[in-house]
Symmetry: C2
Subunit: 639 residues, 2 copies
C-alpha cells in the first residue's frame, strides 16, 4: 500500500461549508414517543394543546366559594354571616367552582361560627381567586414549536395540555468503527506495541450527550478490504459513520482511500491543530468521517464536524461555548496557516486589578489528560504566529466560571504529596480545584514572577551556601512579598530497576558505558541537585548516556526505569515506591511552598494551608515513604 499524502488542505471554514452546508443529507425520520420519555428529545412538529388547563373554572385557593353579589357592602365593620350549603361552601385549591357561585374567599379570611355558619368581613369581587378555564393552556394553543429540545417543564406543559405522545426526531444512529491492528480492548492484556482502544468510548459519550444513538463496531485490523467491506455493510443501517484512525499519512492509513472508493472524499486534512488529519466524505447521503487517532485531535474533530452535523440533523443550532477574556503571561507560538487550539488553565490573579490569566498546558495531541485538566481552550487564528506576552485573549470555557474563579494554580516542582493535597481539598471543599502544573522549581519561580501562579512548590539547593530555596526566592522574586511554608522534607536518590541488575552503587556509575540514564528537565530542582552532586564528585556529565533525555516528573523517571531500556534516574523515594523499584538515597531536601502575600489571606489559600497543617494530610504523606513531615505547615520565611 502506498502512503497517501493529503489532498489540498482545507481551511476550517471551507471544510465546514463543503461537509456541513453543501453535502446532501438524508433527513431523519420522526417517531411518536410517550411524553414521559421525551426528555432531551427534539420535537419534529409543533405541539398543540388537546385540552384546556384548567379544564373547568377552579378554585385558586383554599377557602369558601360564594356569590359575589351576596357580599356587596361587606367590610370589617359590616361583617356578614353566610349559611354553609346555601350561601357558601368550603372549597380546596383545584376544586371546580359550582355553577351557582362566582368568587372565592381565602380560608384565612373566613371566620367559623359553628358547623353551619361562617362570618365574612370583606366583599368578594366577581371571579376572584378563581382560575378560569384555560388560564394556563387553551385547547388548540401552541405549547411547543418544532425543533424544540424538550425540558422538564415542557413535559409538564404537554401533559397538562392533554398531550401524552409527542412526535420527535429519531436519534441519529451513529456507528463508531475503531481501526488499528495495535488496538486492544480496555482490561485486555497489553503487550509492547499494543494501545488501549479508548477513543471510541470518548466519542460515544460525546455523541450521546449531543442526542445521538451510538453503536460501537468491534475493532478492525489495518486491512484495507476488511475495513472497506465492513463500512459498506454499515451504510444502510446508520445515519453517520465514524472511522477512528487511519486518516493520516502513514502506510496503513486507509480511511481516505476507502471513503473515495465507496463514495466521495470531500476533505482530507484541515488546517486545525490538533485535528489536522481528519477526513470528511459522503457515501450516498450518509456522512462519513475519518476521526484522527490522537485523542485530543479526535475530540476537536468531533466538536468541529460531528456535533454540528448531529445538531443539524435534529434541527437545532449548536450553541457556542461561553468565553472569557484572559491575559497570557508568556509568548505563545503557533504555526501560521494553522488554526491552533491550546488547552489552558485559568486563574484569577491580581496585578493592578484582578483578572484572568491563561496558562497553556502541554500541546501534544496525544495527551488526553490535557483535556481532563484544562479549564478552557484558546484559539490561535490561522494567520497569527501566536500571541505576545501580556496579550489579552479570549478563552472558551470547559468549566463554569464560578468554579474557575476559585481555582488555585500551583505551577512548580512535582511532588506526590501535592496530589494528596489536591484530593483532600476536593473532598473537603468541592468547588475548589488545586491545579498542578509541573514545570520544575525554577520554572515555578519564573511563573510566579510572571504572575501565572498562586503558589509554587520548590526544592532548590543553593550550591554556594548549602541553603535551600530562600536564596532563590530572594533573587528571583525580589520585588514580591512572599511567605514560604514547608510542605515536606524528602529523600532524593537513584531510582533503579528492581534487584539492581546493572549493580549500580552510586553516582559514579552513571558514566559507565553500559548504563542508560534519564534526566529531569532544565530548571528542575532534582536536576540542580544532580549537577551539584556530579560537581562534588568531579564527574563529567557529557559522559552520561541519556543526560539530555528529559522528563517532567519523578513518576515519569520511575516509569522509564521500570519499563524501558533505561537503567537509572534521580528522583524521590515515594515515586520509586509506586513502581516497586530499588532506591539508593543521595540527599534529604526541603520542599517548600511559596505564596505571595497578596494571595496568602484568600479564603481558598487559607483552606490549603489548613489542610497541610492537619494530621490527616501528614499521615497520608508519610505513608508514601521517604517523607519527613515534622516541619510540614511551618512558616519558613517571610519577606
Amino acid at each position: 500500500m502506498k502512503r497517501r499524502i493529503y489532498l489540498k488542505m482545507h481551511t476550517l471554514e471551507d471544510a465546514k461549508r463543503v461537509f456541513l452546508d453543501e453535502a446532501p443529507l438524508r433527513p431523519l425520520d420522526s417517531e411518536l414517543i410517550r411524553v414521559e420519555d421525551s426528555s432531551s428529545r427534539v420535537t419534529s412538529s409543533p405541539v398543540f394543546a388537546k385540552i384546556s388547563s384548567p379544564q373547568y373554572h377552579s378554585s385558586a385557593m383554599d377557602g369558601i366559594v360564594v356569590r359575589s353579589t351576596d357580599t356587596i357592602g361587606v367590610s370589617e365593620v359590616r361583617p356578614k354571616v353566610l349559611i354553609l350549603g346555601k350561601d357558601a361552601e368550603y372549597i380546596n385549591t383545584g376544586d371546580p367552582i359550582p355553577s351557582e357561585f362566582d368568587a372565592v374567599i381565602m380560608i384565612e379570611n373566613v371566620h367559623k361560627i359553628d358547623d353551619n355558619r361562617i362570618e365574612i368581613r370583606e366583599a368578594a369581587k366577581p371571579w376572584q381567586h378563581i382560575r378560569i378555564i384555560g388560564e394556563d393552556l387553551v385547547k388548540g394553543e401552541l405549547i411547543l414549536p418544532s425543533n424544540h429540545k424538550i425540558r422538564a417543564q415542557d413535559i409538564g406543559a404537554m401533559l397538562a395540555g392533554g398531550v401524552v405522545d409527542v412526535e420527535v426526531y429519531k436519534k441519529p444512529k451513529v456507528c463508531i468503527v475503531p481501526t488499528g491492528s495495535e488496538l486492544v480492548e480496555p482490561g485486555e492484556r497489553l503487550e509492547i506495541g499494543n494501545i488501549i482502544e479508548f477513543n471510541s468510548r470518548i466519542l460515544s459519550d460525546l455523541i450521546k450527550n449531543w442526542g445521538g444513538e451510538v453503536t460501537r463496531h468491534e475493532i478492525l485490523d489495518d486491512d484495507y478490504d476488511l475495513i472497506k467491506n465492513s463500512i459498506e455493510s454499515l451504510i444502510d443501517k446508520f445515519d453517520i459513520i465514524l472511522i477512528i484512525a487511519g486518516s493520516s499519512a502513514g502506510s496503513e492509513d486507509y480511511t481516505p482511500s476507502i471513503i473515495e472508493e465507496l463514495g466521495s472524499l470531500l476533505v482530507h486534512g484541515v488546517c486545525i491543530m490538533p485535528g489536522k488529519p481528519v477526513a470528511l466524505g459522503i457515501i450516498g447521503d450518509i456522512p462519513i468521517v475519518g476521526i484522527p487517532g490522537y485523542p485530543v485531535s479526535a475530540i476537536i474533530a468531533m466538536e468541529e464536524f460531528v456535533k454540528p452535523l448531529i445538531f443539524k440533523m435534529l434541527g437545532l443550532k449548536a450553541i457556542k461555548r461561553r468565553s472569557i477574556k484572559a491575559k497570557v503571561k508568556q509568548k505563545i507560538q503557533s504555526k501560521v496557516g494553522m488554526e491552533e487550539r491550546i488547552r489552558v488553565n485559568l486563574g484569577y490573579f491580581k496585578e493592578k486589578e484582578w483578572g484572568y490569566v491563561a496558562v497553556p498546558l502541554k500541546k501534544g495531541s496525544g495527551i488526553i489528560t490535557s483535556m481532563v485538566r484544562a479549564d478552557g481552550i484558546l484559539r490561535v487564528p490561522k494567520l497569527l504566529e501566536g500571541f505576545d506576552k501580556e496579550t489579552e485573549v479570549e478563552v472558551e470555557l470547559l468549566r463554569d466560571e464560578e468554579i474557575i474563579k476559585k481555582n488555585i494554580l500551583l505551577v512548580g516542582s512535582h511532588d506526590n504529596a501535592l496530589e494528596i493535597l489536591q484530593n483532600e481539598l476536593k473532598v473537603k471543599y468541592q468547588d475548589i480545584n488545586l491545579l498542578l502544573i509541573n514545570v520544575g522549581s525554577l520554572g515555578g519561580l519564573m511563573a510566579m514572577k510572571r504572575g501565572e501562579t498562586h503558589i509554587t512548590g520548590i526544592h532548590l539547593l543553593d550550591t554556594e551556601t548549602g541553603e535551600y530555596n530562600i536564596p532563590f526566592v530572594k533573587k528571583i522574586l525580589s520585588d514580591l512579598e512572599v511567605i514560604l511554608i514547608n510542605l515536606v522534607y524528602r529523600e532524593q536518590g537513584l531510582i533503579l530497576k528492581r534487584g539492581n541488575p546493572k549493580k549500580i552503587n552510586g553516582l559514579e556509575d552513571l558514566i559507565r558505558e553500559d548504563v542508560h540514564f534519564i534526566n529531569r528537565q532544565r530548571g528542575a530542582g532534582t536536576r540542580v541537585l544532580l549537577d551539584y552532586k556530579l560537581g562534588e564528585l568531579n564527574l563529567d556529565k557529557s559522559k552520561i548516556k541519556g543526560y539530555d533525555t528529559e522528563v517532567f516528573t519523578h513518576l515519569a523517571v520511575s516509569a522509564a526505569v521500570k519499563d524501558s531500556s533505561i537503567d537509572v534516574g534521580l528522583g524521590i523515594r515515594a515515586s520509586s515506591n509506586v513502581f516497586g523499584l530499588d532506591f539508593i538515597p543521595i540527599a534529604k531536601e526541603r520542599y517548600d511552598l511559596v505564596i505571595p502575600k497578596v494571595y496568602y489571606e484568600l479564603e481558598n489559600i487559607q483552606k490549603v494551608i489548613e489542610i497541610i497543617r492537619g494530621e490527616e494530610f501528614k499521615k497520608k504523606v508519610e505513608a508514601l515513604g521517604g517523607y519527613d513531615t515534622s516541619s510540614t505547615g511551618e512558616v519558613i520565611f517571610e519577606g
Copy 2:
C-alpha cells in the same frame, strides 16, 4: 380533619440552614462500575493510573526511526543515505521505538531512493518525535480526584491509565409520591374535578438531570392513614422522599402532620413565592419534602431544596445559574417579607445604547407554561416592595444568552396566525424565538412605547374615523418612527355553543337575563370592537352578565364557551373553529404588525417579514378559517 395553619414561616436562608446544613444525612454508599458506563457519575475516591500511557517509548509521527548519532552534521547540502533495516526503519505513529534507535524523522522529510535506501537532509536530535513512556499518564499519577463528575475526556483518561472500573457514589434513590383524590394519570378519562398528574413527571426529569434515580409511587388518595402507612413503608428503601401536594393549608393537606408523626417537621412554609407551602422534614436520617401542588411552586421548591440536597449527597456543589443585567420598563410589585421569583422574557433593545429588557410573564404559580416560555427568573428580595420602572435588575437565565440575544418579542394582541409564524420561524431558523405575550392591542402599543417589544400586533378600530390602527399608532407612538405591515384581515363574531342552544342571534341577545357572556381584557382590540358595536346598537353593557369576566385570548373565550356555563363571547372565527363552535360574524377587521424602524432592518426581523410574505405561511393561515391574506405582508403605513 382540622385545617392546619403554617408553623412559623421560615426565611429561605433559615429553611436551607435547618434542612440542608443542620439535619442529619445518611451518607451514600459507593459502587464499582465500569468506566465505560460512568458518564456523569461522581467519583467517590481518587482515581490513580494503573499503567503509564504510553506504556513504551513510541513514535509520535509517521516516518523513519534512526540513531541520532548517525545523523550528526547532516543538512540540505550534506545529505546522507541510510540503509533500511540497518540504519533506519519505517515507523507509524504509535509504534514502539526499537531499543537500538533514539529519534524519528517525519515521513515528509524522508526521500526514498529505492526499496532499500532512503536519503535524509537534516540531523535528528536525540528523542525527537518520540513520545516517552508516561508522556500522558504515569502509573500512580492522580487522574481524577474524589467528588469529580465524570465527562467524556475523563473516561478516556481513565481507560488510557489502565483503569477499567471506577468507584462512584450510588445515585441517590428518590421516591416521588403524588397525592390527591382528584388526580388521574395522563391519558385517562377526565371528569370535571379531575386533574392530570403531571408534577411527578416534571420532578422525575429534574432529579434524573441532577444525578438521582427516581421511583414514582402510584397516586395516593387524600387519606391520612393511607398516605402515612405508604410513607412509613418507603423509609428503608429510599434516600429521599418527596410527597407532592398536601403541604398547604387546605382541609386535606396531610403532609406536614404525617411528617410530624413519623419524624420531625423542620419547616412548614417558606417566605418564597411561588413555593411558599413547602414542608421540610426528616424521618430518622432520611430527608422528606412536601412539594407544593402548583407546578411552578413545585419546580422552585425542587431547585431550592432538593437540588442542593442531591448535590450535597453526591459531594458536589450546585452551580448557580448564569445571570445578566436587564432593565424593567414597568413597575413590578411584590409582597414585602416574601422573596418573589418572577418569570420574565428577555429582549435586546435599543434606547441610547443596546441592552436587555425584562418583561414579566403571568405570575400565577399554577401556570406551567410560564416556565416553558420564560427566558429567565427575576428574584425580588424579601425586603423590597418590588422594582420601580427603569430599575436595572439581575435575571437568572433559563436559556443561553446567545439565543436570548436573538429573541423577537411580540407583545400585543393575540392571533392564531402568530403561532404559525412562531413555528415557521423556528423550523427555518432554529436559533430565533418569536415570543408571544398576549396583552391586547392597546397593551401592545403601550409596551412598545415603554421599549418592551420589538413588534406589536394590533387591531384597533378608531370609532370616530372608522379607520384601523393608524390613528392609534400616530397618537400613542408619536415620537417613534414605525412601519406597519399587514398580517391578516380576519372575521370577528359571536362564539356560541355548538348548535346555539340559547338561540342567540346577535349582540342584542347579550343583555338577555339567561345569557352568560365572557369578555376580553381592557385594552383588547376585540373589547374596543365590542364596545363600539354595543354603542352603535345603544345596548347597556352593565346589563350583560359576565361583562367583567376577562380572559386574554380568543382561544380562552372559545374554551370558556365550550366547557363552562358561559354561553357566548366575542372572538375570531379561527379560534371558534378549533373548538367546533357556532359563529355569527360581526365584523371584518385588519390586524397589522407595528415595527419600529430601529428594529426593522435587523436580520431577525427581516426573517420574520420574509416568512410572512411567503406562500407557505399564507396557505397555513387560510386553512385556519376566517382569514383573508390578500394584503398579508404589505406595508400599510410608514411614519
